[in-house]
């Protein structure tokens, strides 16, 4: 395959190196003469100095016969234009764009670029897997029963602050088993125990009700002009 890589920074460099090793014909386009020179020195004569968005240079680079164009500059707008021009003017069958702003994935799709790669999104996905984005911490999963013991710290603006346990509508098969207040004093709650901000609640719940339990205990009580305010305060 003939693959054109636009952008000879770190991503472009290592990408080109791997592709060359796999036996592809590769061309790297890079504006910065120093970077272009370094690629030529280390990977052989596969770099072209020039603006990968400039149609005359694209023609020279052989976009017309490229099987794939991969735009990996640091700027989303440049990667968009490279891919759009490659498709519209040179009929390149596959164009891949690197994006920094994860929200651009949807935008690029609407603008005709189906394949986007976002390091930001990949890292976010990794973090979300490692740390739940919510303040509910699973403590123990009880084998076989589908039940979990979880810990939730009650946020200051939670709707349950000031409510009695009996007035909190919990998801099915969920039970608040222990409350540890801010001073570290544990209490076994009774139906008339009042929940305070900063309390840590240990609860038993079914695994599938974890999300529902979290939203009951942490959802904000206040409403902005456009409905509930989310955790970022928007």
């Amino acid at each position: 395959m003939y693959i054109i890589v636009v952008g000879g920074g770190k991503v472009g460099y290592y990408l080109a190196k791997e592709l060359v090793e796999e036996g592809h014909e590769v061309l790297v386009m890079e504006k910065d003469p120093v970077k272009a020179e370094r690629i030529a020195e280390e990977l052989g004569d596969i770099s072209l100095r020039g603006d990968g968005c400039e149609a005359s240079i694209m023609e020279m680079a052989g976009f017309g016969r490229a099987d794939m164009v991969i735009a990996v500059t640091g700027d989303d707008e440049d990667n968009l234009v490279v891919c759009q021009v490659a498709k519209a003017k040179f009929n390149v069958p596959r164009a891949v764009a690197r994006i920094n702003n994860p929200k651009n994935e949807e935008i690029f799709k609407k603008l005709g670029i189906d394949t986007t790669v976002s390091a930001t999104a990949a890292i976010l996905a990794q973090i979300e897997q490692e740390l739940p984005t919510h303040p509910l911490i699973p403590l123990l999963t009880l084998k076989g029963g589908g039940l979990e013991i979880v810990e939730v710290k009650v946020p200051e603006n939670s709707a349950v602050v000031g409510k009695r346990i009996s007035d909190i509508l919990l998801p099915q098969q969920s039970l608040i088993a222990l409350i540890v207040d801010e001073d570290g004093v544990p209490r076994v709650p009774k139906s008339d125990t009042v929940v305070r901000a900063g309390d840590e609640l240990m609860a038993v719940t079914r695994t599938e009700n974890e999300d529902a339990l979290r939203s009951v205990l942490t959802a904000h009580a206040t409403f902005g002009p456009y409905g509930p305010i989310d955790s970022q305060g928007r």
């Binding site: 968005c53 400039e54 149609a55 005359s56 700027d75 989303d76 707008e77 440049d78 968009l80 234009v81 759009q84 021009v85 519209a88 003017k89 702003n101 929200k103 651009n104 935008i107 609407k110 603008l111």
Partner: protein
């Protein structure tokens, strides 16, 4: 979007004509180009960020003009205004004549100052020559 010479001049004219004008530029210093009597809004931010465009109300705009120094920035912002926010009238400046033709072909309303400038200069050259040292 883009408060350079063209952006600032255009904003001032439209403001004077009684339109509600919002100017967006990534660099707050750029607003110095606006005349003091400019009555529209000024926002700092990049026009290729969906959140920024939403915040400054592009969704309710009747027209969007992209005149930053970067062709690609203009192209991306203009397409977002048109296809994401549904702005009815979108005009985009693209210096590079070839890129301008491509995006014109893709349905964007585009202007290449390079092409227009070259044409105007050529026309001026071809006009009846003015007599040297004339003026009587």
């Amino acid at each position: 979007m883009g408060c350079g010479r063209v952006g600032a001049d255009l904003a001032a004219t439209l403001d004077q004509e009684g339109h509600e004008v919002t100017v967006l530029d990534a660099n707050p210093d750029a607003f110095r180009r606006l005349r003091p009597e400019f009555g529209g809004q000024r926002h700092v931010g990049t026009g290729i960020d969906q959140d920024v465009l939403a915040r400054i109300g592009v969704g309710e705009a009747d027209a969007f003009v992209a005149v930053t120094q970067g062709d690609n920035r203009n192209v991306m912002a203009a397409q977002m205004a048109k296809h994401i926010f549904g702005v009815p009238r979108v005009v985009c400046r693209i210096y590079d004549p070839i890129r301008e033709e491509i995006y014109h072909g893709l349905g964007l309303e585009t202007i290449s100052p390079t092409k227009v400038g070259a044409r105007l200069i050529k026309e001026a050259l071809e006009r009846e020559p003015v007599t040297r040292g004339g003026g009587e």
